[in-house]
């Protein structure tokens, strides 16, 4: 290739990427760096000027009781929603793939929550879980069980949000698992049968599960991060209550930053949030690198 053509190509390259890179700097990179900087200040919106406070925000995070609750709630929620919605997604996908009838129909039904406006659906869940007029408790009453105040009691609120979270995420996971399943060559199942893997369980252990490994890792990462980010259901249904029993990290960032306008403190919390997300992705990448057995 001649030098002129090379220059023309480079110019085209710069012109085509230029706008995107500028927007990237303005909307993503600089604000993200700014969050890190803000985390070391006492900046509050509307107050003139700010001071460098070093690690004060972070030490406050460690001692603040509300913050500990928020982090603990997030961890509990993730520990509940992630495994449950992954298993649900895997189960639904296997069940759908196990036969030929109704595949498209059921796939659509289970996927529906992904395309539904969460605020609206949370409102529907609120009615379902209403302690006195809600159908869930009415149904439990048929069996003589007095249902709890699902969203109104601090003992039950995380479980209830978790249920909604599983409902929201299972279909998405199912679709990812289905994509992973279709990538498994049919011949391997035939080979497994001929080789003596008689039952469905033996074939699952010999073929499905190992070949689904990378998919499951991806699903785990995605679900974990989606669970950590949970905001809509809290904002709609509980506002972190009752008694901070449903405070979770993104809701707390929102409260501190945009309700109380304590930007520096909220920025510090955001940094923690970012670090957690990055750590999860790092672990995933490491694990994927470790199992690059097939190419």
């Amino acid at each position: 290739m001649s030098e002129r053509a090379g220059f023309g190509e480079a110019l085209a390259g710069w012109l085509l990427t230029g706008p995107a890179i500028l927007a990237y700097l303005a909307m993503l990179l600089i604000p993200t760096l700014a969050v890190v900087v803000l985390a070391f200040t006492d900046f509050e919106l509307g107050m003139p000027g700010f001071h460098w406070v070093g690690l004060d925000n972070f030490s406050e995070l460690l001692t603040d009781h509300g913050m500990r609750t928020s982090v603990r709630n997030t961890a509990l929620y993730v520990a509940l929603v992630t495994p449950a919605s992954i298993l649900a997604g895997l189960g639904l996908a296997l069940l759908i793939e196990a036969g030929s009838r109704g595949k498209v129909f059921f796939r659509a039904v289970f996927f529906l929550p992904v395309v539904s406006l969460m605020v609206a659906m949370a409102t529907a869940w609120q009615y379902l879980l209403h302690p006195t007029i809600g159908p869930v408790n009415a149904w439990l009453a048929l069996f003589g069980i007095a249902g709890p105040n699902w969203l109104g009691s601090s003992d039950w609120v995380l479980v209830s949000l978790g249920l909604i979270g599983v409902w929201e995420n299972a279909g998405f996971n199912m679709v990812l698992v289905l994509a992973g399943l279709t990538a498994i060559p049919r011949e391997l199942y035939a080979a497994a049968e001929v080789d003596g893997a008689a039952g469905p369980w033996a074939r699952f252990r010999l073929v499905t599960w190992p070949l689904l490994g990378p998919t499951m890792l991806l699903v785990t990462t995605i679900t974990t991060i989606r669970a950590i980010r949970t905001f809509d259901s809290i904002a709609t249904l509980t506002q972190g209550g009752p008694n901070k029993a449903s405070e979770m990290i993104v809701w707390t960032i929102y409260q501190e930053g945009f309700s109380y306008l304590r930007m520096g403190y909220a920025a510090a919390l955001t940094v923690v949030f970012l670090v957690v997300v990055l750590a999860i992705m790092l672990v995933q990448t490491r694990l994927i690198e470790k199992r690059t057995h097939y190419s």
Binding site: E187, A191, V194, A197, A202, P210, L211, Y294
Partner: protein, 371 residues
Amino acid sequence: MGGIVIEGAKRSYGAVEALKGVSLTIAPGEFLALVGPSGCGKTTLMRAVAGLEPLDAGRVLFGAEEVTRRRAADRDVAMVFQNYALYPHLTVFQNIAVPLVMRRLNAWQRLPLLGPMLSRAAREGIAADVRAAAESLAVGHLLARKPGQLSGGQRQRVALGRAIVRRPRVFLMDEPLSNLDAALRTETRRELVELHRRVGAATIYVTHDQSEAMTMADRVAVMMAGEILQVATPEAIYADPADLRVASFIGSPRINLLPAESGPDGLVRVGGWSTGLVAPGAATFAVRPEALVPGPEGLPAVLEHVEFLGDSLLLHARHEASGAPLVARLEPQARKSLERGQALHLRPLHGLVFSADGRRCPALARTSALV
């Protein structure tokens, strides 16, 4: 060791009949090639023998034992798949070991951590058998690799290793050479025949490549549109095809086909030229390229093209009366005397006569036109 008996096997997918009542017997230790164009049902038939495909009607027997309703896992068959179907997450050793692990160890002994402790002796036996199988196929040095790190030829050997390690009573191969390059394919043919002799199991070898079938098999079964048209030795299939479709499928270049008719005396004529054969009801006269020779008399034709193959010469001509293409295989020296557009006569040394429905007509030579 027993053979394989298939009786009246039927299988349809919706309106499509993949198997229209196929019956076939493979003798103990026999190597049978099942050949036919793609979509003829040969793979369905093989999968039915393996137990991977249920039959709508009919029976499958191994020796005297009926296995029609038995699962693949319980049939004691080995199968080599077209794309080898190696488990990508397992090493070569583990791949070859799978059939033994599945058969010799119970569910507890197969558990990841606990299993090995419960089954030391069995596992040692498995390891020895795996090594022996791998050595016999010259993949002993690859045992620690994963399939992704192997060449096509190596993968194929591993797939063979996984098939022979358990000494199956029935050995099935589904186009095992189609993913190899041309040079390796010819070499591997011989090795597969060798391997079959060692294993000694009744073998069904599915292929769409008639030359593979002809060179490797004890007998060849030609299948088309869900039916087996003929089962015979390669020689008999070639020289004595029972059906027009068999005649044109087997042999390369293809057999020459010319429209023919029987006179009131039964004499078969092609465009007015008498073949000297007597067969009532003739519709097609077929002659192999090597049985056509240019001479002073014969089928009048115009030479269109000459193809030099080194060891022989292919002469492409057109039959004057019918416009049908004719191919003759000649000695390479014959080239000098030939030029494009030249009119010549091609004399069939021997030929086959088929009726309008494609069946072979028994023909008698009346004159010495045909030897």
